[in-house]
Symmetry: C2
Subunit: 573 residues, 2 copies
């Protein structure tokens, strides 16, 4: 019996820990820079892999991330599992009913957004394979098919996240984008499955014709019978097994078995988990809590391991070709925008909206990366094109959100936490009158800034005397708009004796926010006030806040209890 | 570069799916029989492994669960990861403050509950190693040390679950049991770590003296500095990183790195994850949601894979020795009860309570199984003793809950769902008056039973006329106690027009429960009524219930929204 040695286990755990930790840290930095976290996660792998760490200290890099032996088998197995489970979550995001609801518009844009990139892709791939980075020995047709698919697929999970961030997920335009992306994804993956089976390695799987037939039957079955079956099975499982173990076990078991099936058929395991995810996620009986347990553990633990693993696999510096990368990015963007604009014109969308749809569908994110990795593993493309595809997927995703925001002129909502200044926290206010509290908080804020203490306190107090800002729930929000202020400033203080802010419910005020906003920006003040009111809607939350002792503890509390916002929930049931 | 073949991936996914699925199904059956689910999970492995499946169809069993090659490496790696993560969760259950709070009592019982089994164990292990199943070549001293540890460790996670099920987790006695078990576990594992390092394989780890020293330093550091550091780091992480990705990433990264460290030191990775779990779980800043995401995914996905994997590893039939098993069970139980009774007497506990503590600490559960598996892998014990130890761990866990319940004379609480009869669901009541509804529901219940329709309806109506059972929230709970009824019966019906039950808030009643209980049992009726009121405390829940169309959907809804019960939450913070 083969046994893992203690060295194998040490390496395995250490490598996983280092990858996960750095993926998280760099992912967080990416988010700070308003970029998708997947960018940071891939960077973590590039840094720890052959590109940087391996370039500086190849021996130590090899010691921690061996390129051979049991570690490699373990790591490949785990990342294969990770990506299959990530596709389960991606499938759960797919909402078939959105497609039906948007009917004609989604159908047209989904079709043109797929057909245009695919046709142009197949043409270019066939005519100029070497310019596009095909390997010398590759079959022209197979390469053209791959390139066409790579140009066509959008990244539904990324698209959905961008739309949610911009709060237009539930708008008509958002639904059109999501529906079109869903169609793109579904058809694109099916086409790719067929390609994989066409080039099926000899001796594996049940033969090309059989593979195609089984794939189509399985797909149709999962999309029609699947949801129907789930709607009957999930209530039964929830009614008769332990909660939430039963439903979690069912979800993972089903995904694994479907993955094993599609892998056996001759396509990849991810198709099985993806289709199972669609059927599972479609059920209105699946509880939000189950979704989020599966989603969080997989998205935050498994997916980063997979993406960091990509950087570990390939030397990004050695295989980087600026020309090829630019070509790929430009072609990908042009064909996707072209297809969407054509579709938008056909169904009478305003030109501005068509552009937004185009940039929405242009986000390639994780999907194109996974596609390219499969093609790389199958020997269909070389590392040079792989690197270009990964960069293309990242760049198109980076641009997508910003472009939609600019085109539709959307301002992102203000959270008060973003403006809470680092010295704007006072856990024990000394003042016992509203005027005193305001002066104390203004004093705190003006430390180290150019604020004119007296003038600001006067402005806030004048506003306060017009109408008290004491809300219910022991909360008060004195505020003022100031000429010359560049960006909003917020301070918070706790009174442990209570101050009479003439509150609505008559109780003395304990939690006092001072809010200063630039004179021009009317909306910001209202947004910040609304955000504070929502955050401290429950008196329980006020109680917890009063118990925090530092700005960090206070921020930690607020950030882990984000108020519910109707737009952030799922589109259906 | 080594690559996993499609066959490897197919086998890997299929095997994981089958194991997880059958572990879940058999785990559920175990729960139905009021046994811990780990029993079913191990059974799943025994059925799919060499014992049963392999006995019937060895070729097919080998095909699905190969005994060699990449699959075995993958499976070993994944189960090692699974058990290390399971120990992370087990560590998070440890609450050091309970130990401090129970101070003297916990200290005394924890000590005697450890010292007595350990001394007797070491004596027996040294004097009669072959009777106790030591391998012929094994060192007498090392074996005696292992046997002593195996007799001493309790299974804190199982103990905690049993006490929670019995709703005495928060009682003084519950706290004493938990505190003593925590002490047992902590010291027992440290001793075992020392044993492992003593027998450390040549050439691995930094040498025995160094191993012991590093182990002790790490343990002391994690138990003292650890919680202090966590209390500073967790708020910072929650305040400055994405939620919940940041904290989840931190928890898993930390566990993996600590696991790699202890594995490198020469003991096992599980010690590192366990100690990290204790430090992490101790922090009051860790949110309940984070705990449950980690706990659920690991307990319901990773842990079952590990336990099912045990059955896959060993042929339980071939290595089963009834004499050895009986010996092990009897010795384990006697020494643990003896130690607890002695401790109980020393600190003046009532004899009944001492017995309850003894049976509580006697539950060995997962811990003894993990310990034995490590000993088996290390070549310290053979498969015969391993099988006996696994059975001992299961039997002592099975007896623990029932014994405590009998000794303390605890009745388990009644949930109305347990008595909802299979034909007691009516989604459209035809009646429009209270009396009509009662008659209709009685009619439904009496179908196929010996209930006297007229007499029962009369009894319920008489009770109803005394004082209306219409509650607020569109709920009514007509009920009666009946002579001759053996066990409670509940029926539920929805009125879509609303019925005037003279409800407290004046709204017409839509959701009507009929509750019949045996005349003698006063408590049951009150418990069922209370349970219904708690379950439908929020009007939202009533709305959702009214939308269900079958008994299965209704049960599914109620079971996935268990009402909060103060006793089921964590002991602290």
């Amino acid at each position: 019996m083969i046994r893992l040695s203690p060295e194998d286990i040490t390496t395995f755990f250490l490598a996983l820990g280092l990858l996960l930790g750095s993926a998280r840290v760099l992912g967080e930095i990416a988010i700070r820079l308003r970029q998708p976290s997947v960018l940071g996660e891939i960077m973590a792998g590039i840094i720890l892999g052959p590109t940087i760490f391996g370039g500086i200290a190849p021996e130590i890099q090899q010691l921690i991330f061996p390129h051979e032996g049991n570690f490699l088998i373990l790591f490949e197995g785990l990342t294969t599992l990770a990506i299959a489970l990530f596709l389960l979550v991606a499938g759960m995001e797919v909402d078939l009913s959105t497609v039906w609801r948007q009917g004609r518009t989604a159908g047209i844009i989904g079709t043109t957004g797929l057909v245009v990139p695919f046709s142009v892709g197949i043409l270019l791939g066939y005519l100029a394979p070497s310019t596009l980075g095909a390997e010398p020995g590759a079959s022209r047709l197979t390469f053209a098919l791959f390139f066409a698919t790579a140009m066509s697929i959008s990244a539904l999970p990324i698209v959905a996240r961008i739309l949610r961030d911009l709060k237009i997920f539930r708008s008509d335009l958002g639904a059109v984008i999501v529906a079109a992306a869903t169609l793109n994804d579904l058809i694109g993956w099916i086409v790719f499955a067929v390609i994989l089976s066409l080039m099926g390695e000899a001796g594996h799987g049940p033969g090309v014709g059989m593979t195609v037939m089984l794939t189509l039957c399985f797909t149709v079955g999962m999309l029609t019978l699947g949801p129907w079956l789930m709607n009957r099975m999930i209530p039964w499982i929830q009614a008769n097994t332990g909660w939430p173990g039963g439903i979690l076990g069912f979800a993972l078991t089903g995904a694994l078995i479907c993955g094993a099936f599609t892998e056996w058929v001759g396509i990849h395991a991810i198709f099985g988990t993806f289709l199972f995810g669609i059927a599972l996620g479609d059920s209105k009986h699946l509880r939000e809590q189950t979704r989020s347990t599966i989603d969080q553990f997989i998205s935050f633990i498994f997916a980063p391991l997979f993406f960091a693993g990509i950087g570990l696999k390939v030397d990004f510096a050695a295989h980087f070709s600026i020309l090829l990368t630019l070509n790929v990015i430009l072609i990908a963007t042009f064909v996707k925008l072209g297809g969407s604009l054509l579709g938008g014109r056909l169904c009478g969308l305003a030109s501005r909206e068509s552009w937004a749809v185009g940039f929405g569908l242009n986000a390639r994110g994780a999907m194109e990366i996974i596609l390219s990795l499969l093609a790389l593993d199958a020997g269909l493309i070389g590392e040079r094109l792989f690197v270009s595809m990964v960069i293309m997927a990242l760049v198109t995703s980076l641009c997508s959100g910003a472009a939609i925001q600019a085109i539709l002129n959307i301002r992102s909502g203000s959270r008060f936490l973003d403006y809470l200044s680092s010295n704007g926290f006072r856990s024990h206010l000394e003042a016992t009158t509203p005027e005193g509290c305001i002066e104390e908080l203004v004093g705190v804020l003006s430390k180290g800034s150019k604020l004119d203490r007296v003038r600001v306190a006067k402005a806030v107090w004048e506003r306060e005397t017009l109408m008290s800002t004491g809300l219910s729930n022991r909360l008060a929000v004195p505020h003022a708009r100031l000429e010359g202020l560049k960006s909003p400033l917020v301070a918070v203080g706790f009174s442990h004796v209570g101050v009479d802010f003439n509150s609505r419910d008559g109780f003395p005020t304990r939690l006092i926010f001072l809010i200063l906003t630039p004179a021009g920006e009317h909306g910001t003040q209202i947004e910040i006030l609304g955000d504070i009111a929502r955050t401290f809607h429950h008196s329980e939350m006020v109680e917890k806040a009063l118990q925090t002792n530092s700005l960090t503890e206070f921020r930690s509390l607020v950030r882990t209890h984000e108020p519910d916002q109707p737009d952030q929930s799922r589109p259906s049931g």
